[in-house]
């Protein structure tokens, strides 16, 4: 298990470096800068001399290689630079947003797993039944609804009409404020999980060893709990991992919509203002999250399937 972990982590570092380089280069070829964005922001014309001075201070005129080298150097000691906008360290900006973001993503994933996996399971145990058809219609709709539309509908129904939950904001960070954004974010992974689980269980139910289990005189519930579940889990875990990992990135839309103070909304704001250090920090975090989840999934494989040894 430990060697697996070490190997995975060794893979993470080059991946991270590549991502950092791509994001950095992307922003250096994009037209416009923090200063031109300030100008467009309707704050009026800025004195060209002032603009020139600011460019110097922010080091925007230095050669690309030099800027990149500096950035990576600082990154290595955990310094993500200062935000152009607030002048605060990016680490602090992100640190403030991290917990709300994690909370949202975890809640959404929990929702997706708790609803999606059983839904797929039930559908697979009675293929072609009404339950099967219904749950798959739910799954398809969940997959095809855009998150922002779904979010708006949830707000309309639960906040405006039923007046059960607050329509947006973080509040005290409790469950009442968390519920709607978590559902809005969790519906599409839930739908995907339901479909994958159904396919995985159906696949395993047709396996030879399930026929063996039946030939042993096992009741169908026992066949499922003793032999089907664990085997289907291997496939389901893959989907959970991929969805979970990308959820922090997907959260951007939902966080913006619900005014949720997470990394996603910080990212959007920073992009609009060309706050390059903050954007890079946010993307780095989203990537790190993805890699971390992937590593956890790899460990989970090893724990579940004895055939897998990353030797």
């Amino acid at each position: 298990m430990l060697t697996v972990l070490v190997r995975r982590l060794a893979n993470v570092i080059p991946t991270l470096f590549a991502i950092v380089a791509v994001v950095f280069l992307l922003f250096s070829v994009l037209p416009g800068s923090f200063i031109s964005a300030m100008n467009e922001d309707g704050r009026g014309m800025i004195d060209p001399a002032v603009m020139e001075r600011m460019r110097k201070e922010m080091g925007l005129d230095d050669p690309l290689i030099e800027r990149f080298g500096k950035y990576v150097g600082h990154l290595a000691i955990g310094d993500l630079g200062n935000s152009f906008r607030t002048k605060e360290p990016v680490t602090k900006l992100i640190g403030d947003r991290l917990w709300p973001s994690l909370k949202l993503v975890l809640a959404a994933m929990l929702f997706a797993i708790v609803i999606g996996v059983p839904l797929g399971f039930i559908a697979a145990l009675k293929p072609g039944s009404v339950t099967d058809a219904t749950s798959m219609v739910v799954a398809i709709s969940g997959l095809s609804l855009p998150k922002f539309w779904l979010g708006l509908m949830l707000m309309y129904l639960f906040a405006l009409q039923l007046k059960l939950l607050p329509s947006f904001g973080y509040g005290d960070g409790g469950l009442t404020h968390l519920t709607l954004p978590a559902i809005a974010l969790g519906v599409s992974p839930m739908a995907l999980l339901a479909r994958t689980t159904r396919a995985a269980v159906l696949d395993v139910l047709n396996a030879d060893f399930v026929r063996t289990a039946r030939s042993k005189g096992m009741s169908e519930p026992r066949v499922v709990t003793w032999h089907v579940m664990r085997n289907a889990l291997v496939l389901v875990i893959t989907t959970i991992g991929l969805q979970f990992g990308s959820l922090m990135g997907q959260a951007v839309v939902v966080e913006k919509l619900f005014a949720w103070p997470g990394v996603g909304s910080l990212l959007v704001d920073s992009v609009f203002q060309r706050d390059v250090p903050a954007v890079q920090g946010c993307i780095l975090l989203i990537v790190l999250f993805f890699l971390a989840i992937n590593t956890l999934i790899d460990l989970a494989y090893v724990a579940i399937d004895p055939r897998i040894r990353y030797a």
Binding site: A207, D208, F209, R211, T212, A213, R214, S215, K216, G217, M218, S219, R222, W226, H227, R230, N231, V234, I304, D305, P306, R307
Partner: protein, 326 residues
Amino acid sequence: MSDVPLLAVDGLRIDIGSGAQRHAAVEGVSFSIARGETFGLVGESGCGKSITALSIMGLLRQPLSLGGGTIVLDGQPIHKASAAEMRSLRGRRIGMIFQEPMTALNPLSPVGRQIAEMFVLHMGMGWKEANDRAVESLRQVRVPSPERRIHDYPHQLSGGMRQRVMIAIALACSPDMLIADEPTTALDVTVQAEIVDLMRELCAAKGTAILMISHDLGLVAQVCRRVAVMYAGRIVEQRASAEVFKDPRHPYTRGLLASLPRLGARSKQGRQRLNEISGVVPAVSAFPKGCRFNPRCTARTDVCMVEDPATTALDGGVGLVRCHNA
């Protein structure tokens, strides 16, 4: 054969599909197996031998269904047994081993546990006791150092070892009958003989009858006292193994025998190809009119094209053949 047979299958019909798409994949199959007897079911792929076995286990699944006939185990009509009754029979009174031991074992479960399940299911043991019994079972099928092997997963064992595990599972509860569906097809030739011997020896010791299913007439004749040859969902010849070898009556049986490779045949007769039965098994939905073997038969006459042959008794009533010209 004197008293009540252990298993009596009579007029078995297995349907495939439903409604207008329904066809009989197996039709009019009757045979019986006495206690401790060895009986072989031989035929090409798709002739219905495997689904006949599954129907005895009550394991036919969509689109297959039991279309008619009776299956009686030890006086109990199991074709109309409830699901719960069938469950208590499966594993306990009829064990089954399958062709491919790699896929027939759960890859995520140690083999010891997969054997121990039998004792937990049918003998009400706790897992600890069942595990001890699993070690004993492995020892019986001559797996070396069984105490350590029970912790192994299927992928850590060789094909022969896996099939031994399958045999241990099937015979764990000393069933009255063992159904072996192509038990050696996926194995190396050298391992085949070991597995067959092991199976025969253990069954003889426990008094377990064997229903062996194979496409290999030579193997079946070597293991089984009696043989039924199936073609296109029907038994075409059913006799003692010795008689089949000595004097095959159905043209299909003769074809099967002729297609067996013989050592030394080449040197005696010069360079020679193996014989084959030309053509393929007809699809279930398109069985030919008259005798089902007629498109491939070398001894075909006019009556074969129009009239379905009835069975003719052979060997003083213990054997039968389904052919106009036998």
